[in-house]
């Protein structure tokens, strides 16, 4: 499998805190890569670094060989790298369909003048995008609530909507920050199903979570983060048997709170 995204020796410091220390991993074309680690391990920082929200102090990030270190988030989206947010970040006062439409900027926006003049190409792009949005809403299970205001949706639906907005950009690589956090068992299963189907559609994914069970069932490979650096990388079986992982991560899980 060819490499889609390469993260090489990336470091980031916030004041006195070394959030990420020489992080090294890669995402292969077509895989679901899990990033797991306890709170504060630097999972979200890793996503923020790759998506361009923050710049690394050192190191290199490359997308199919092209250096994208520190590239602005919107440019990365246009190269096919999208992300979701931990919290339900959605346009609260808009309908579900309008939220997804706004996520589809890369295909829906024809440029200022074609949009202004309503050229044939612009309208054709609009029709195509509306059709794909309809399909997307359908298989996300949001078809029924497409015209509802996003803020009125139950939390689980809002999480799925956040995912849908990212997928509307037709990404090559989607980075999901805790897509199942706070969801019920059934909702989490639905999200996992959506992720698998997205992957079957040819999209590579990075899934960040601290729920070991969710990640091991979903991902092809897993990177375990600990104090901002990579502790272990491998298949779910390899990682869950790794004594360092059990010690650093699973060990703490069983400690009484």
């Amino acid at each position: 499998m060819s490499v889609l995204l390469e993260v090489r020796g990336v470091s980031k410091r916030f004041g006195a805190v070394q959030a990420i220390e020489r992080l090294d991993f890669e995402v292969k074309q077509g895989e679901i890569l899990g990033i797991i680690g306890p709170n504060g391990a630097g999972k979200t920082t890793a996503i923020n670094l790759i998506s361009g929200v923050i710049r690394p102090d050192s190191g290199r990030i490359a997308l199919v060989g092209e250096d994208v270190t520190g590239m602005r988030p919107d440019r990365l989206v246009r190269l096919g790298v999208v992300r979701t947010f931990q919290a339900t970040t959605i346009y609260q006062e808009r309908t579900v369909r309008e939220n997804v439409r706004r996520g589809a900027f890369t295909t829906l926006y024809p440029g200022f003048w074609p949009g202004f003049l309503g050229t044939g190409a612009a309208r054709a792009a609009e029709r195509r995008t509306e059709a794909t949005i309809g399909e997307l809403l359908g298989w996300l299970g949001l078809g029924e609530v497409a015209e509802a205001e996003a803020r009125n949706l139950p939390y689980g639906y809002q999480k799925v909507l956040g995912l849908g907005m990212a997928l509307a950009a037709r990404p090559r690589l989607a980075m999901l920050d805790e897509p199942a956090a706070g969801l019920s068992h059934d909702e989490a299963a639905h999200v996992a199903d959506v992720i698998r189907r997205t992957n079957a559609d040819g999209v590579s994914l990075i899934v960040v979570d601290h729920n070991m069970r969710f990640i091991t069932r979903l991902c092809h490979r897993i990177v375990v983060l600990h104090h901002g650096t990579e502790l272990a990388t491998g298949t779910p079986q390899e990682v869950t048997r790794d004594p360092r992982v059990i010690d650093a991560y699973l060990g703490t899980l069983h400690e009484p709170a």
């Binding site: 602005r72 970040t89 609260q92 589809a104 926006y109 609009e126 509307a168």
Partner: protein, 321 residues
């Protein structure tokens, strides 16, 4: 399926009704001078129309989530550009008019990338400062601008437009074009992503929207349009002076948006008409003019916080139920 068809036909009906209202409004605007001959009314109506351009263009900036307090400065740049080019260099009005939009837009393109990085109160303060700088330059660069006295005897766009009623129709056409273009920008995909940016920059950016480029583009377009107003106003009242483009004029454009309603383009149009007419009709009470003006503003904000457009909406909804 039946429900969806019903909803869609209702939507189409609403759009048809909007065009019908626009048609009625257009007919009224064209027809009233035939029946009412007072020049005073034509004068005020022309001012109202010209201010709809400035207020609507500021609406564009507000829609990106930025509250600008230097919009009148760009109106001044437009007015002075047009005035100088026609009086000093003898340019034909059409060319000077084009320049009166391009000069403010070009200035906005230069300062925009710096200003629009600032948010909230910092943007407000920096635009306030910029407005003062422009006023000072107009005041002090006497060899070019004529200082505090300004520039007099600006010719009308055409000898045919000396008559105030003729100018009214000219202003009507220009305002219709300018406001129409602004309305089209808002209804196009660009409008959709302007709203996205205002509602959540982070989210818009993570959908691929180049936020700063959008903001700068919209800011430049808005400044270009208010420059057009500056030109049309200068050739209407035949003089420009720094005193016409002060902070209070910027505030006036903003209050038009607030009073009219900020939710849609109809707000600033109503606000512009209302706030241009109000002081003129309060002239009978010169000593109380400012006080009454303030009282009316406070009453509107107190009882119709959604703006004057809210009154129309309430009337329509009670009419339906």
């Amino acid at each position: 399926m039946g429900l969806r068809a019903l909803v869609e036909s209702a939507g189409a009906g609403l759009r048809r009704r909007r065009w019908l209202w626009l048609g009625v409004l257009g007919a009224l605007l064209v027809a009233w001078p035939i029946f009412i001959h007072e020049v005073f009314f034509a004068y005020i109506a022309t001012l109202m129309l010209l201010y709809t351009i400035g207020a609507a263009s500021l609406h564009l900036v507000l829609r990106t989530g930025h509250l600008s307090l230097c919009h009148a400065a760009f109106m001044g740049l437009g007015g002075y550009t047009s005035a100088l080019l026609t009086t000093r260099l003898g340019w034909p009005f059409a060319l000077a008019f084009l320049a009166s939009g391009l000069v403010p837009a070009a200035v906005a393109l230069v300062v925009g990338p710096i200003l629009l990085r600032l948010r909230g109160v910092y943007f407000v303060l920096i635009t306030f400062t910029l407005g003062e700088i422009v006023r000072l330059v107009l005041n002090e660069w006497k060899s070019l601008t004529g200082g505090a006295d300004g520039i007099f005897r600006i010719p009308p766009p055409s000898p045919l437009l000396v008559d105030k009623r003729a100018y009214y129709y000219f202003a009507l056409a220009m305002a219709a074009i300018c406001v129409g273009v602004i309305a089209r920008i808002l209804s196009s995909q660009t409008g959709r992503y302007i709203d996205s940016i205002r509602e959540s920059e982070r989210l818009a950016q993570s959908s691929g929207v180049p936020i700063l480029r959008f903001k700068v583009m919209i800011f430049a377009i808005a400044c270009g349009f208010v420059g057009f107003q500056g030109s049309l106003l200068a050739h209407f009242i035949t003089f420009v002076a720094p005193g016409s483009y002060t902070f209070s004029e910027s505030l006036n454009l903003l209050v038009m948006n607030v009073i009219g309603g900020m939710g849609g383009l109809a707000g600033p149009l109503i606000g512009a008409a209302f706030l241009t007419a109000l002081p003129e009709f309060l002239r009978g009470w010169v000593e109380l003019q400012r006080v009454l003006y303030g009282v009316v503003l406070v009453l509107v904000m107190l009882f119709v916080p959604g703006g004057l457009i809210e009154i129309g909406r309430r009337l329509l909804s009670t009419g339906r139920s």
